[in-house]
Amino acid sequence: MAIEKIFKDDASEEKGERARMASFVGAIAITDLVKTTLGPKGMDKILQSTGRGHGVTVTNDGATILKSLHIDNPAAKVLIDISKVQDDEVGDGTTSVVVLAGELLREAEKLVAAKIHPMTIISGYRMAAECARNALLQRVVDNKENAEKFKSDLMKIARTTLSSKILSQDKEHFAQLAVDAVMRLKGSTNLEAIQIIKKPGGSLMDSFLDEGFILDKKIGLGQPKRIENAKILVANTAMDTDKVKIYGARVRVDSMSKVAEIEGAEKEKMREKVQKIIAHGINCFVNRQLIYNFPEELFADAGVLAIEHADFDGIERLALVTGGEIASTFDNPESVKIGHCKLIEEIMIGEDKLIHFSGVEMGQACTIVLRGASHHVLDEAERSLHDALCVLSQTVNDTRVLLGGGWPEMVMAKEVDELARKTPGKKSHAIEAFSRALVAIPTIIADNAGLDSADLVAQLRAAHHKEGCNAGIDVISGSVGDMAELGISESFKVKQAVLLSATEAAEMILRVDEIITCAPRQREDRM
């Protein structure tokens, strides 16, 4: 009797070497896919969605690329997951983390081929990762005390992050934007307070940070277009019919005249509600829900500016900037906090009319208006800016800073190499491999920039042999340069997250010796 078949028909099982091979191949394929986007001279990818309209995205953001891929290989899924987590957690380094994990696996593959047990490799990697982290910890710069210096650190980080994105041409401008925006948050990491509005037209350089608040809405007809010293009531209430909410209530009438009466009562009710709102002494009313024509007219009559259908984030932000509260009942006007701002006016950006609130009380929130040639450019610019904002807001919390340009990798590689020399046993091969994987990152950066990576990395390694060296790859001039002078910095938190999650992911994949795939669930074809 042949070996019993124990799985369902379409389920498959791969064991030992084959399973390991499958995961290595999958992980390395993913790495090769995103590796060309790494570094300041990295290239972009076009992603075409399979959904309706075949929308196109142009990006070099690792997380965005990987998120849109449909992958079947389980190991590749692990890598996609770490990139996603990196995006959620620190916002940047999404490509680096995948590349590092991939390189670690590539090195591990060689070791496995040389008959070293995966568990030995794992324990070597662990030691190496710990050592690398300590090496970084020793070299961090923390300028928390010195506000001036810290700000310049932030600028440097912003510039470094942006230089690998589409915004690199105008990185100075955008770095300033991002730093200003983050400084306004005063230490909170809630990026919701920074609103990004995209308006096609103009050039990227025309983008600007607005201290006030811009709402992408139109002002109702016949209402004032400009209000000075505005008193704003932010509300979330139904301004259409205001149903009776008691269950089971319904209107039942037996003649036309009664219908008219009820209708009148309804109108009366709405009028009362509007009166109550107006009684707050406001001259601007912003509602999350629709405002029907009738109340709108009432507001117009009272000279109150009414804005309908602001989205939820919009009103939350508006409440935050103006210092008002979001109200849903209007019976006690004296205790509702009303937001203030100096000036509300309708402004034009490109072709569109927007409402601009300026001179707001609390300066925590702000708006960045992005201008650019096309939707694709704007989308990519938004992602880039988002990355920069994330990194900056994280850096504000954890103020430790490192140099960039392949410097941290070389520092770590050097320490790890030394550890390898001191460690007896097979583990030392794994530790050495770890350091090789680290060096792969500057190599890829150089390769992507069309430089002679072998030569540059060798120079870099030599330079790092001296204590306290600041050498990194200067992609612009194509040589080894002093990163401190060039002002290329990275956040410690990002680097640490890259290192740890990449090692964790590599470890996870290495530990696997069997892949069991269940039969795919049958889907009904709705075509």
Binding site: I6, D88, E89, K258, E316, N332, I516
Partner: protein, 535 residues
């Protein structure tokens, strides 16, 4: 392969493909069953021990799970064969009963089946084999009791517990910080344990995970976390000395269950109804306020208006809190769950020293921490980790560690791990075999051989020479009459599991042997498999 002829005299092969098989009987059936059971055990064999490997499991929807927890692997494996399903059940029952050793039990059963196959080939009746196994398992369980040791621990001396949990965790991916996690698990179990009654309600320990950060950031919170945020963005984010009203009724007008109609036919009725509605909201909020609550936790949603009223009266509120969490909050804070506003009284409020909202990462991820509760019996283990699979695996590992700690509190006997208990049992069973007259003797010997397979798998997974290592350890045990020699998986340099501090719980081990024997007996008794033919 059976051959048959159809009505035209052409030969065709019955039982050619597995798919067309409908019936197997006699020794054929037993062999088929045994090989199915062995196939399952073979999959798990490589996951055993501190150097065991993981498996990737891809679910029908394409989700990936990476684990080396036996129960989880089998659960997700999409098994079709009936006998394989029995093995899955076996591992699951070990999981429910003990929580740990789910891999070991399957490997054990696989080894028993393998030995049984050999005996069947010699013509021994399966029932005799089953009976022999039964006797042998009795010897083994008794012997385990004999070599087990009691140890003392208290709320101050948790070291032995931590050590045992560490043994469990060392085979998982989290072994990088097993010490940290073991301590957390033990502290969590001790804080909810009822030492008098020797009982632990594991429901009081909530294991929550959130991706991001690193494994070392995993923490034990003496309180509850709820994956929710305040219902209104402008409510205070931190409340000290909170008095919590725990409600299971929505902040909405009531919906009477009986069928009714409220007909509005005049303007006056319309007006009164409106007023009444407003009063409703006002009353609800006022009632909460009147009893002195400073935080409202509600299982249902709020109406926008109610939300604003709460905000307005400076009464922070959380909505859409799940039933289980609600119960935990009630236990932790000493409050009562109140189903109706009318029944709200000051005594029914829960108390907590600190309630705060904490945000994570760059996305809008917020969690609510309820700490310093009146009754600190409910705790939460909050796991951080690099990716989703890591968190899931850590959750499973922590669950195992918690179960082990609980078992120790119930029964503080331990045996030593690293295969030492199995080897020692094997020796005892082997010696006991000679006393039995009859065919069963062979089955008992076979059982002893099967016991050896666990340490053998351990040695194999650790990259040692399995047979050589096992025989060396065995002879050492007999020579020095010391049952604590085991397999040195971590290459520490000593075989003495006592020095290595590798413990396992006595009941866990006993259960493994008993369960494995039972399932094998059941499988051996089957001599006919009838499965419906494919359509």
């Amino acid at each position: 392969m059976a051959l048959a002829f159809d009505e035209y005299g052409r030969p065709f092969i019955i039982l050619k493909e597995q798919d067309q098989k409908t019936r197997l009987r006699g020794i054929e059936a037993q062999k088929a069953n045994i090989s199915a059971g062995k196939a399952v055990a073979r999959i798990l064999r490589t996951s055993l021990g501190p150097k065991g490997m993981d498996k990737i499991l891809q679910s029908p929807d394409g989700d990936v799970t990476i684990t080396n927890d036996g129960a989880t692997i089998l659960e997700q494996m999409d098994v079709d064969n009936q006998i394989a399903k029995l093995m899955v059940e076996l591992s699951r029952s070990q999981d429910y009963e003990i929580g740990d050793g789910t891999t070991g039990v399957v490997v054990m059963a696989g080894a028993l089946l393998e030995q049984a196959e050999r005996l069947l080939e010699r013509g021994i009746h399966p029932i005799r084999v089953a009976e022999g196994y039964e006797m042998a398992s009795r010897i083994a369980v008794e012997h385990l009791e004999h070599i087990s040791q009691k140890f003392d621990f208290g709320t101050t001396n948790i070291e032995p517990l931590v050590q045992t949990c560490m043994t469990t965790l060392s085979s998982k991916i989290v072994n990088r910080c097993k010490r940290h996690l073991a301590e957390i698990s033990v502290k969590a179990v001790l804080s909810v344990a009822d030492l008098e009654r020797k009982d632990v309600n594991l429901d009081m320990i909530k294991v929550e995970g959130k991706v991001g950060g690193k494994l070392e950031d995993t923490e034990l919170i003496y309180g509850i976390t709820v994956d929710k945020d305040m219902s209104h963005p402008q409510m205070p984010k931190q409340i000290e000395d909170a008095k919590i009203a725990i409600l299971t009724c929505p902040f909405e007008p009531p919906k009477p269950k009986t069928k009714h109609k409220v007909d509005i036919d005049t303007v006056e009725k319309f007006q009164t109804l409106r007023l009444q509605e407003q009063k409703y909201f006002d009353d609800m909020v006022q009632k909460c306020k009147d009893v002195g609550a400073t935080l409202v936790i509600c299982q249902w949603g709020f109406d926008d208006e109610a939300n604003h009223l709460l905000m307005h009266r400076n009464l922070p509120a959380v909505r859409w809190v799940g039933g289980v969490e609600l119960e935990l909050i009630a236990i932790a804070t000493g409050g009562r769950i109140v189903p109706r506003f009318q029944e709200l009284t000051p005594e029914k409020l829960g108390k907590a020293g600190l309630v705060r909202e904490k945000s994570f990462g760059t996305t809008k991820d917020k969690m609510l921490y309820i700490e310093h509760c009146a009754n600190s019996r409910a705790v939460t283990i909050f796991i951080r980790g690099g990716n989703k699979m890591m968190i899931e695996e850590t959750k499973r590992s922590i669950h195992d560690a918690l179960c082990v700690a609980r078992n120790l509190i119930r029964n503080n006997s331990i045996v030593y791990g690293g295969g030492s208990a199995e080897i020692s049992c094997s020796i005892a069973v082997e010696a006991g075999a000679d006393k039995y007259p009859g065919v069963e003797q062979y089955a008992i010997r076979a059982f002893a051989d099967a016991l050896d397979s666990v340490p053998m798998a351990l040695a194999e997974n650790s990259g040692l020479q399995p047979i050589e290592t096992l025989s060396a350890v065995k002879s050492q045990q007999i020579k020095e009459n010391y049952p604590h020699y085991g397999i040195d998986c971590n290459d520490v340099g000593t075989n003495d599991m006592r020095q290595q501090d590798v413990f396992e719980t006595l009941i866990g081990k006993q259960q493994q042997i008993l369960l494995a024997t039972q399932v094998v007996k059941m499988i051996l008794k089957i001599d006919d498999v009838i499965s419906p033919s494919d359509y």
